[in-house]
């Protein structure tokens, strides 16, 4: 299928159920047969709209639900005792937030909409009851959770070891992969987050982020206009990452796509 270049704010009918949702192949319903989707829809609150800057949940508040991003983009972050914000992740449509808190009583981070965003709420208690009836649903849920854990740990590795170039290349490749998963263009996309958030997330100063992006542009690897990014040389971006770089997800999917 030909990829399309669209922004993260793709038009969805807000109250469209899991049956019709374009993202169901990425989200929870992937594991559920048609006959069980109705049961799933009964517990999932679909299409809650949030404006930019609005919170989905706040750190240290009681954990109740995970959320599937339906459109828009979300950032998660923690705030230290000293009041310093640390961005912990960016979430795009089809991805689930809150998974890192499911074994805790409180949310381990806050989640805020980066742009106008819609989410589906998955109340965990009801979800667990349903999942005990539908083992495939439960197993899919744990697959998503293990992936989240791996990616978060790999990010920690990335931040502790790699250079600024490697970190930014890794983020761009990660976004590229995630857009591709949604059958969107993996080479033309709009960054949903400001550079300050990118810097915070990657442990870099905003100036460093801008400098590296300019360097990538000067080398003809990417083209950037505002938040619009065009990856001109995907392979060069991959080469920037060391052999043992942690963007394994991208490498794997690239290999699969090449088959």
């Amino acid at each position: 299928m030909e990829s399309k270049h669209i922004a993260t704010s793709s038009p969805f009918s807000l109250h469209r159920g899991c049956h019709e949702c374009n993202l169901s192949k990425l989200c929870i319903p992937i594991a559920v047969g048609a006959e069980d989707i109705d049961r799933l829809e009964e517990i999932i609150r679909q299409g809650k709209m949030l404006n930019r800057g609005e919170y989905i949940f706040e750190q240290h508040t009681p954990f109740r639900s995970c959320f599937a991003v339906r459109s828009g983009a979300i950032k998660t972050f923690t705030v230290s005792e000293e009041g310093e914000e640390q961005v912990t992740g960016f979430y795009l449509p089809g991805e689930i937030i809150g998974l890192d808190s499911v074994s805790m009583e409180k949310y381990s981070c806050s989640a805020v909409a980066l742009e106008r965003t819609s989410v589906c709420e998955i109340p965990l208690e009801k979800f667990e009851d349903l999942a005990s009836d539908i083992p495939s649903l439960q197993h899919h849920f744990f697959s998503l959770m293990s992936k989240e854990i791996q990616e978060s740990r790999q990010l920690t590795m990335l931040l502790s070891k790699n250079s600024a170039e490697e970190r930014i290349a890794s983020l761009l490749l990660s976004l590229s992969t995630r857009f591709s998963r949604r059958r969107l263009s993996g080479t033309n996309f709009r960054l949903p987050m400001p550079r300050s958030d990118i810097g915070n997330y990657l442990g870099l100063a905003v100036e460093t982020v801008s400098r590296v992006i300019t360097r990538f542009q000067n080398n003809g690897i990417i083209k950037v206009q505002g938040r619009e990014v065009q990856i001109l040389q995907l392979e060069e971006l991959q080469k920037i990452l060391r052999h043992d770089t942690k963007c394994l997800d991208h490498q794997k999917e690239s290999a699969l796509n090449a088959r």
Binding site: S103, Q138, H139, S143, I149, Q150, R153, Q154, M157, L248
Partner: protein, 338 residues
């Protein structure tokens, strides 16, 4: 015989009530090699009557054990059974979760897991999702402590296929890795690349890395050749296994083992037991835990007085859990070496 009566008998025989656990291998000797069948339901009855509960009060060690390894099958049968286990793995995991939840229901309120240990083959056998599922329920049922002082140990019998596997186990909350030579069950244990393996694991910032090595005719030459380079990586603890040294024709091995111990001590490791060596000040001994509870098919549990073994046949294991019974099936007395 009900377990409670066994406990009383063992106490009369002078059993010691406290020991320290080292890498899921409590120093132990058995007063009898023979296992006795547990009366059906006796285990649960004893929990209800609190005769077992006292072992768990104040904290206990919990060990999740791989299927097959501990079910007395030969190495050959083990390899043969792996694929069939894999085919039904998800069902097995769901029953492990059942056992965890049942155990929680049977324990006195507030029982804390002070030491968590996963057997070596689990990383190879379980999918990332299955590992996450088991850890999720352990965390939820026992409110596992994930602070810096937690002791969550995972064994690795083989080098993980990718660094993603290490990222997952680190992310799941394991903070101590035990590289374990599974002996006859492994086709080859890579002594030669152990140093490189240690470095890879170290990159994930685990609190400690332990080594459990077997001195056998298959490993003795490589161990002798590479021991110093392994010690340079400063694993926090080294357990040299010598389980099969009693057999005839092992004089050479005994000499090698003696030599290895001398070399380990020369590298500033301190002997904790006759086979276990640790770097000074690593604080690796989990104190104040007198009971290790094993979860899984054929899993072993230890108290200072006796050892229990779970059902070793899948059908029997599943049946016990379907009947909401903990699946312990056999018992034998123990005496600690300490």
């Amino acid at each position: 015989m009900p377990v409670g009566k066994v406990v009383e008998q063992a106490k009369q025989n002078g059993g010691n009530d406290s020991w320290v656990y080292l890498l899921n291998s409590p120093p132990k000797e058995f007063s009898s090699e023979n296992w006795s069948a547990l009366d059906e339901g006796a285990y649960e009855a004893d929990y209800r009557n609190s005769s077992l509960a006292r072992y768990y009060e104040g904290g206990f060690a919990l060990s999740v054990q791989a299927p097959c390894f501990n079910t007395l099958v030969s190495a050959e049968n083990y390899a043969r059974r792996l694929p069939s286990m894999n085919a039904n793995l998800q069902k097995y995991i769901d029953y492990i979760v059942k056992e965890v939840r049942l155990l929680k229901q049977n324990l006195p309120a507030g029982s804390q897991v002070k030491y968590l240990h996963w057997f070596g083959d689990l990383v190879r056998q379980l999918t990332p999702a299955a590992q996450t599922q088991v850890m999720y329920y352990l965390g939820r049922e026992f409110k596992l402590n994930f602070d810096a002082d937690a002791r969550h140990v995972i064994e690795l019998d083989a080098r993980p296929d990718s660094e993603e596997a290490l990222a997952l186990i680190k992310g799941l909350g394991f903070n101590i890795v035990c590289i374990n030579d599974p002996g006859e069950y492994a086709q080859s244990f890579p002594i030669e690349s152990l140093r490189d393996w240690l470095q890879t694991i170290r990159a994930f910032d685990f609190k400690a890395v332990y080594l459990r090595l077997k001195v056998t005719p298959a490993t003795v030459t490589a161990l002798s050749e590479h021991l110093e380079e392994i010690l340079t990586e400063r694993p926090q603890g080294i357990l040299l296994s010598s389980h099969k040294m009693e057999s005839a024709g092992t004089a050479g091995l005994e000499a090698a083992l003696k030599d290895f111990k001398r070399r380990i001590k020369s590298a500033s490791f301190i002997p904790i037991t006759q086979d276990f060596f640790a770097l000074p000040w690593t604080g690796l001994i989990s104190q104040g835990v007198s009971c290790l509870h094993g979860v899984g098919l054929g899993a072993f549990s230890y108290t200072p007085h006796y050892q229990l073994r779970n059902a070793t046949q899948l059908d029997d294991y599943y049946k016990a859990l379907d009947n909401s019974e903990l699946p312990a099936r056999a018992i034998r007395y123990t005496q600690t070496q300490l």
